[in-house]
């Protein structure tokens, strides 16, 4: 086994999936938001909802395209770099991914076409239906991915035959408490991402004193939705902690920076985990029973420490420890912003409070950072296992993969992704800077349903006068 090839494969998977998840988490939320906007327009008949819809549809197109392009790679990477995993878990993970491709891509591709071109060709209710179907497609995709990943976190419903994981209970694989606390957690995270991007855009326009009606709606709806969803998200986050504590004590101990078994346990708020000497430096700790209360909802429960787990089964402690705290920190900031902003908005003072407007404008990275660090916690915390406690990552990698091959592919991906990411984000930035422009969306002559990103060009090429409108 080539250890460098293993490390490079892990870096490559981490890099490509980190790059990929940015776009779906944005588009899942945006698709749902577009559905709400279209429903509101049908119910109220206010043209402003149509303007906002058409504007965000353009942004949706660009992000959707980048998600599609980067997603293709994921479907093949299991086989190329992780041939042992894909051979052993293929009977379970393969069918799950097949259902993702079959159900989600079908809905998305078909109704995305209607979304772009069908405005004049289908009745309003069918147009709304199409929007909802795109949202449903992205949700299906998220669902199958969460089932898939949850099986790697907490494998269930299988027996081992001839070194292969053979499914014997699909109900257990799909309908278990782990899936149904993680899937809502991811879905809510996507909705919050959409909400904060919309609110930040609204705040930017208010600060620039542009698009008065649109910006107000974006700001209030974005912050209002976040104000409602954030507490629910914290609740599902807590449920996730519950599954980790029950099934993955090694991950939990790393997240908590807990070295010794404690009963009842204290709670480390901040520290620098000194892995070599098995202790925390500069620790700020809440006394018992706060740790037991947070991890096990109990005043007296015993909690496992890393010292009672063999070090060869430890995850890299520092990464889950800090990424978890960054995620929670982002969540708290978002909760504060959403509640304060919504309160001020009720008092009709939001649009005069420049400090909060600036904070909201600058808040758009928070949900992305929270999602990425949340995934780092889940995935790095699962190490050293690919499938928790039954298949080590080191045994999952393609056994004959060489350092040369892994280096070449990693360099290819870093170069190409950096290239297309730079252009993609630049186009999204330019679209948002340009703004809704009050003009109804028209399908550009050359834009077609299978060219989602060409939507981004439409407003800029046909309406050059609006480019840079905010300057």
């Amino acid at each position: 086994m080539d250890m460098t090839a293993l490390l490079l494969s892990r870096i490559q998977f981490a890099f490509t999936i980190t790059f990929h998840i940015i776009f779906p988490s944005f588009t899942i939320g945006l698709a749902a938001w577009l559905t709400v906007l279209e429903a509101l327009r049908l119910a109220t008949d206010r043209p402003v909802y149509r303007v906002i819809f058409d504007f965000w549809l353009k942004v949706f197109g660009v992000a959707f395209g980048l998600g599609v392009v980067s997603g293709i790679v994921m479907a093949f990477q299991f086989g190329t770099n992780w041939s042992e995993l894909s051979k052993m878990s293929g009977p379970i993970q393969g069918p799950l991914l097949m259902y993702e491709t079959f159900t989600a891509f079908m809905l998305e591709a078909t109704f995305f076409g209607v979304l772009i071109f069908g405005r004049k060709r289908v009745p309003p209710w069918l147009y709304l239906f199409s929007t909802a179907m795109v949202a449903l497609g992205t949700t299906f995709s998220a669902f199958w991915i969460m089932v898939n990943n949850s099986w790697m976190q907490v494998p269930s419903g299988y027996v081992v035959e001839n070194g292969v994981f053979v499914p014997n209970d699909w109900t257990k694989i799909i309908f278990n408490s782990v899936v149904w606390s993680r899937f809502p957690h991811m879905l809510l995270a996507s909705y919050l991402t959409g909400a904060f991007c919309v609110a930040a855009t609204g705040a930017w326009y208010v600060l620039r004193q542009e698009y008065h009606a649109e910006s107000g709606i974006m700001l209030r709806m974005g912050l209002g939705l976040a104000a409602v969803l954030m507490p629910i998200q914290l609740f599902f986050g807590h449920l996730n902690g519950g599954y980790v504590n029950t099934y993955q004590p090694s991950k939990m101990a790393a997240i908590e920076g807990r070295w010794n078994d404690e009963k009842p346990a204290g709670e480390v708020l901040f520290a620098w985990p000194d892995v070599e000497n098995r202790r925390n430096l500069f620790a700020i700790t809440l006394p018992p029973p706060f740790g037991s209360l947070i991890d096990s909802d109990s005043l007296a429960a015993g909690e496992t420490g890393l010292n009672s787990i063999p070090p060869k089964n430890w995850p890299p402690v520092v990464i889950p420890f800090f990424s978890f705290r960054i995620m929670v920190g982002c969540g708290m900031l978002m909760l504060g912003l959403a509640w304060l902003g919504t309160y001020l908005s009720f008092k009709q003072r939001l649009e005069r409070n420049r400090l909060l407007l600036w904070a909201t404008f600058l808040s758009f990275p928070l949900p992305f950072v929270a999602i990425l660090t949340g995934w780092f916690t889940a995935e790095v915390g699962r190490q050293p296992w690919a499938v928790f406690e039954i298949l080590r990552t080191a045994d999952a990698v393609t056994p004959f993969l060489t350092t040369r091959e892994a280096t070449i592919s990693l360099v290819i991906f870093c170069a190409i992704y950096a290239f297309i990411f730079a252009f993609g984000t630049f186009y999204i930035y330019r679209l948002i800077r340009t703004g809704p422009a009050g003009k109804l969306f028209e399908s550009p002559r050359l834009a077609v349903p299978s060219r989602p990103m060409s939507l981004g060009d439409a407003g800029l090429i046909h309406e050059p006068g609006h480019a840079g409108a905010g300057e």
């Binding site: 190329t80 894909s86 991914l97 079959f102 053979v166 060489t402 299978s450 990103m453 060009d457």
Partner: protein
């Protein structure tokens, strides 16, 4: 049940090669096209359909993984570099569709990535098929061919052959979809490409028979299998006639038929192996509980995807009016 998934796998691979083959071919011909107006017409001929076409590659991938996990893991890991080079090509040509309209100054970059990406992706697909025909070196159930074991003269020849084949499909598609100069250029390209492809196919067929006696015996034992090469030969004759009469539609249908017969010939030569002489269909099949779970996806959702493809092609049917090509 296993045969059902073999069938869906075959349909997906064939659809991918035919549909994406045509637009990869247009991508390669794009590199030869001069002038912005011509290039726009070429792009328009494939822009509405290329993404849907590429989805069939994903469909192939997930069917392989779900229904035949050992094949998925063996093939993808053995063809590590060709696969990533192919994906890189597909990504670059995919974004080129979207990005080239956003810039004047840097348009050459996206034109290059569109044509270059198409060539790289196609060449790598051909190399992979060629290396498969030659046979993967496998020791104790594990690929042992090395980083570049797939890169043989024969595989490279297949890479070039597939480039010619896809370019032929692309040219026929352009003849069918376009008017005026673009169509006339396609009509000039079709005979050249067609002759090269037929020569190439004949060489490969003879080579495969000569190298692999087991295949030769199968063909001698079951002469009725020659139905596939025979269909290909008849299609070639009709193709020649349609080229001479400058027909716009028939070349595309006949080349499609030649592709189908070539695929059928190849598949029958492999039978009952999925990876020739290494893994058979029955050895590769996932457990019954997996196949049963996938069954509803295959029976209900797969036909829906076919319907989508049909709808998409019928919405964008007919000639592109060159006169409307402007911004």
């Amino acid at each position: 049940m296993v045969m059902f998934w073999v069938l869906l796998l075959a349909v997906s691979i064939l659809l991918y090669a035919l549909l994406d083959g045509a637009d990869l071919g247009v991508g390669m011909l794009f590199g030869l096209a001069r002038g912005e107006a011509t290039r726009r017409v070429l792009l328009r001929a494939v822009a509405p359909i290329w993404d849907g076409n590429e989805t069939w590659l994903l469909v192939t991938g997930v069917i392989l993984w779900g229904a035949f996990p050992p094949v998925y893991s063996t093939l993808l890991s053995a063809f590590y570099l060709p696969l990533f080079l192919m994906l890189a090509g597909l990504i670059l040509r995919g974004v080129a569709f979207e990005f080239r309209d956003n810039t004047q100054r840097m348009r050459w970059i996206w034109d290059l990535s569109f044509a270059g990406g198409s060539v790289v992706a196609t060449f790598m697909q051909g190399v992979t098929v060629g290396a498969l025909v030659e046979g993967l070196r496998v020791t104790n159930g594990q690929y042992s061919g090395g980083d570049f074991g797939w890169f043989t003269p024969f595989a490279a020849l297949c890479g070039v052959g597939l480039c010619l084949g896809y370019a032929l499909l692309g040219a026929c598609w352009l003849a069918k979809k376009c008017e005026a100069e673009v169509r006339d250029a396609a009509h000039r390209q079709i005979p050249v490409l067609a002759v090269s492809v037929l020569v190439f196919l004949a060489v490969v067929f003879v080579y495969a028979l000569a190298e692999h006696l087991p295949i030769l015996h199968r063909w001698i034992d079951r002469p009725y299998l020659f139905i596939f090469p025979a269909i290909g030969a008849i299609a070639a004759i009709v193709l020649a006639r349609s080229i001479l009469s400058h027909n716009d539609d028939w070349p595309f249908y006949m080349v499609t038929l030649i592709f189908v017969s070539a695929f059928g010939t190849l598949a029958l030569s492999f039978w009952p192996y999925l990876i020739p002489f290494v893994i058979t269909i029955d050895e590769a099949a996932a457990p019954q509980s997996s196949l049963m779970f996938m069954f509803w996806g295959g029976v209900v959702v797969f036909p829906l995807m076919l319907v989508y493809t049909l709808v998409s092609y019928s919405v964008f049917r007919g000639k592109i009016r060159t006169t409307t090509v402007h911004y």
